[in-house]
């Protein structure tokens, strides 16, 4: 028995043992069937899909060079495909004119990120980078087949996209990218610290090239975006932010999870029909990344937040950056406009600021104020203040009891319940011993 035959058998066994046959084929080709279709109808769907797939051959097999205005670039490591695109800075991206990038103050990124190393970060001298990869798994077997770099160039916003038409073009791509990136002192990504940069680092190493991003001053916008907007927005994915904050809706965009499969199909068949849509997807991601970076800076500069949840989030960002006066103003704004837990949280932050400033009386008043809402966290904070600063254990006990009795135990986080119970027992002991 030859190896060939044994391998074929392996394939048959694999199929036989694992795939439920028709269902797998359907899921692969036309999506899971609706309820109630007969077997005949299900098979017809497959036949129809096969017929659709046989479109005009020339369109199917059009080479990338005919579909995209790019060019082959050659260097000492080989050849790759480069696509360049530019926008005038006066262009609006959703609700934001890109030219606003010129008005961003140099300190904003430091405030946003809370990282002193990013002081004087200049978005106009930054590379906005995003990769499209052959998978999300990470690890050495995942490659970045497309790397897009956006940057301001005079009155233009340019995007250069480095694309490998096949795997052997990767070294040339990386080589050229590294030369290009060396011109920028700053780097902006979205989740790049965890994903794009380590992935590229591995690719550079596999191609025996020096990694150009090792020393980059890097703003990963994902984290500040979460801090600023997570309280209000359900999702902080780039496209959700783009939709919610820039009012931008993409039409006919390729869903990110389909991108690896589209690329594999292209690499095997050379039919580049859908590849331009991946390039467009990547380009939009980069322009949005730049626009959202500008917007985030504007929020911290101008205190743009209006929704009380956003105001509170902004206050936390400012407090983290040690801009105390501004953060207290935003906490007060939250306490005025917000209600319930949010209002109590803002008052607690104010109380804690007052205590740190040495204003014990003011802090106590704020704790009382926050606790009036009946919020268990606020009541706990009040109890601490009463017990330790004002030395009034019986009032503290009352606050703890109010917290435990005001709400059913399931409505309070379990750790807080445990803390409150411990505190109650200790206070009772203390009072018992005193009397």
């Amino acid at each position: 028995v030859t190896l060939q035959e044994r391998l074929q058998r392996l394939r048959r066994e694999d199929r036989g043992a694992r795939s439920p046959g028709l269902e797998a084929l359907e899921a692969d080709l036309v999506g899971a069937p609706e309820e109630g279709l007969t077997l005949k109808q299900r098979l017809q769907r497959l036949v129809d899909a096969a017929a659709r797939g046989r479109g005009p051959a020339e369109r199917q097999c059009a080479p990338l060079e005919d579909l995209v205005p790019g060019r082959s670039v050659r260097n000492e490591r080989g050849e790759f495909f480069l696509v360049e695109h530019e926008l005038h800075l006066e262009t609006w991206h959703g609700d934001l004119p890109l030219s606003r990038i010129n008005g961003v103050s140099a300190q904003s990124v430091e405030v946003l990120s809370g990282e002193p190393s990013l002081a004087a970060f200049d978005l106009r001298r930054a590379a906005f980078l995003d990769t499209e990869t052959t998978g999300l798994a990470g690890g050495t077997g995942t490659a970045a087949f497309l790397v897009g770099v956006g940057f301001v160039d005079g009155d233009r916003f340019r995007v250069r996209q480095y694309f490998m038409r096949d795997y052997h073009e990767e070294p040339a791509l990386l080589r050229a990218l590294s030369e290009d990136l060396s011109r920028f002192p700053y780097l902006v990504t979205f989740n790049g610290k965890l994903f794009d940069v380590p992935l590229l680092e591995t690719r550079y190493r596999l191609c025996r090239l020096a990694h150009p991003l090792a020393e980059a001053l890097h703003l990963d916008l994902l984290h500040p975006a979460r801090r600023l907007w997570k309280a209000r927005l359900e999702s902080c994915r780039l496209q959700s932010l783009e939709d919610a904050l820039l009012g931008l809706r993409r039409r006919g965009d390729v869903p990110g999870e389909e991108i690896p499969r589209i690329y594999f199909d292209y690499v095997r068949s050379r039919a580049a029909r859908i590849v331009p849509r991946i390039l467009e997807h990547n380009r939009l991601d980069i322009v949005s990344l730049a626009a959202l970076s500008v917007l985030a800076c504007q929020w911290v500069e101008e205190g743009r937040a209006e929704d009380p949840r956003d105001v509170y989030s902004l206050a936390r960002v400012l407090e983290r950056a040690r801009l105390f006066e501004r953060c207290e103003a935003e906490y007060r704004r939250t306490a005025e406009a917000g209600e319930g837990a949010l209002r109590a949280a803002a008052l607690l932050r104010l109380a804690s600021r007052a205590r740190r400033a040495g204003d014990g009386e003011g802090a106590s008043a704020l704790f009382e104020h926050a606790a009036a809402s009946g919020e268990p966290h606020a009541l706990r904070a009040l109890a601490v203040d009463l017990e330790h600063r004002r030395k009034d254990p019986s009032a503290a006990l009352l606050a703890v009891e109010r917290a435990l009795e005001g709400l059913p135990a399931e409505a309070i986080p379990p750790r807080l319940v445990a803390d409150l119970r411990r505190r109650r027992a200790r206070l009772r002991r203390k009072l018992g011993a005193d009397s």
Binding site: V1, L10, R11, A17, L136, H168, R268
Partner: protein
């Protein structure tokens, strides 16, 4: 203190303590060139670093495997290197405990349904068939439902004093003989086989005494696999010369297969279920007879063998592709037969018992006698 139970393995050790105390520690056995293992290895390796055109890996022709994986769509050749082109992380699909990554989950429905265990695909029909007793952490569960498509079985805790042993019908077809050799009056071989097996019933066996206390019929999905096997052939002339009836001759082979299966597991230091046992009844390579050994499993009496009966006893690797048990068995052939002979001949029972050739109910009243005669012939006068 070791109290031996009534299985041949325990009885052998009780009678030959030197074997136990003189034996080296257990050897882990895996065949790295098992095609399933090798192909999965190649996938994982390709993920970590693309293969170069002239690289070597494993004992098979790597280029062919790489081409196969390209056809499968997980590798892609670009400028002489093979790149991983799948979104998945291949090592995720490799199980360290079994050859195939497909598995069944065991769901305890005694209270809120919850998953309590996983069972690999190939063992599922024999361990999770309906009415089976599933044992986990000393607790016994009764299998209520077996869902093949969903790869799931529902079990409920139950206090029972027996366990179940599936009866499997196995049909073995010889695909390739790697080595074959006459030894005394028998023949030893090893090679590649195709095994079609189906769980057709089960026995209820009492804990501790291993008494058979009942049985049931089943019709589980057929399972096909290619694997490697060692087999013993008793030549036609040897069988014909035995002073026994035709039915009795087959009983003797059934009895012999019971002993060989148990002893082989002992010598290989593997689990008894790592080896499948099947019988063949002609030289054509195709064989059918059940392992599980009810003499006439409900409604399935085999016709008596003919005068040209030339039985094979197959001991096959019970894992797709084989895990490398067969070649060592081929080498151990002489010892396997002579130790089996000494176990059966020294067993004080009259007509067979669970400690040697299996109980009388399964091997017939003269099974032991015939098995002994065959063993003597197979071992030859030297022993």
């Amino acid at each position: 203190v070791l109290v031996a139970n009534s299985t041949p393995l325990n009885q052998f050790i009780a009678k030959n303590p030197a074997y136990f105390f003189g034996a080296p520690v257990e050897r882990a056995r895996i065949n790295p060139d098992n095609l399933q293992v090798l192909v999965n290895h190649v996938k994982c390796a390709a993920f970590e670093l693309p293969f170069e055109a002239d690289e070597r890996f494993g004992g098979e022709d790597l280029a062919q495997i790489l081409e196969f994986l390209e056809e499968e769509g997980v590798l892609h050749r670009s400028a002489g290197r093979w790149h991983w082109t799948s979104e998945s992380y291949p090592a995720d699909a490799v199980s360290l405990r079994s050859v195939s990554s497909d598995n069944f989950v065991v769901q305890d429905v005694t209270r809120e349904p919850r998953i309590i265990a996983e069972v690999d695909y190939d063992s599922a029909p024999s361990m999770l068939h309906e009415k089976a007793v599933y044992i986990l952490e000393g607790r016994t569960y009764f299998v209520e439902k077996y869902h093949h498509q969903e790869r799931r079985a529902e079990v409920r805790e139950a206090e029972v004093d027996y366990y179940t042993d599936a009866i499997r019908h196995a049909k073995v077809k010889i695909l390739d003989r790697f080595e074959e050799e006459a030894v005394a009056l028998s023949r030893r071989s090893h090679g590649e086989v195709h095994v079609t097996s189906q769980v057709v019933g089960f026995k209820k066996i009492k804990f501790h005494t291993h008494e058979n206390v009942g049985s049931g019929e089943l019709r589980m999905p057929e399972n096909e696999m290619h694997t490697t096997a060692y087999w013993l052939t008793v030549p036609r002339e040897v069988m014909a010369a035995l002073p026994f009836g035709l039915e009795e001759r087959r009983d003797g082979i059934v009895a012999l297969s019971y002993t060989l299966g148990q002893m082989a597991a002992l010598f290989l230091m593997c689990d008894r279920h790592d080896l499948g046992v099947a019988l063949g009844d002609n030289g054509q390579g195709e064989a059918r007879v059940e392992r599980g050994l009810q003499r006439t499993p409900a409604g399935r009496s085999e016709p008596a063998p003919g005068l040209d009966y030339e039985p094979h006893v197959f001991l096959y690797d019970n894992y797709p592709g084989g895990i490398g048990l067969s070649e060592p068995l081929f080498r151990l052939h002489g010892r396997l037969l002579s130790e089996s002979l000494s176990l059966v001949s020294s067993c004080p029972c009259r007509d067979g018992c669970p400690s040697c050739v299996g109980p009388v109910g399964e091997v017939g009243s003269r099974g032991k006698e015939v098995a002994l005669a065959i063993l003597r012939a197979a071992v030859g006068p030297a022993a």
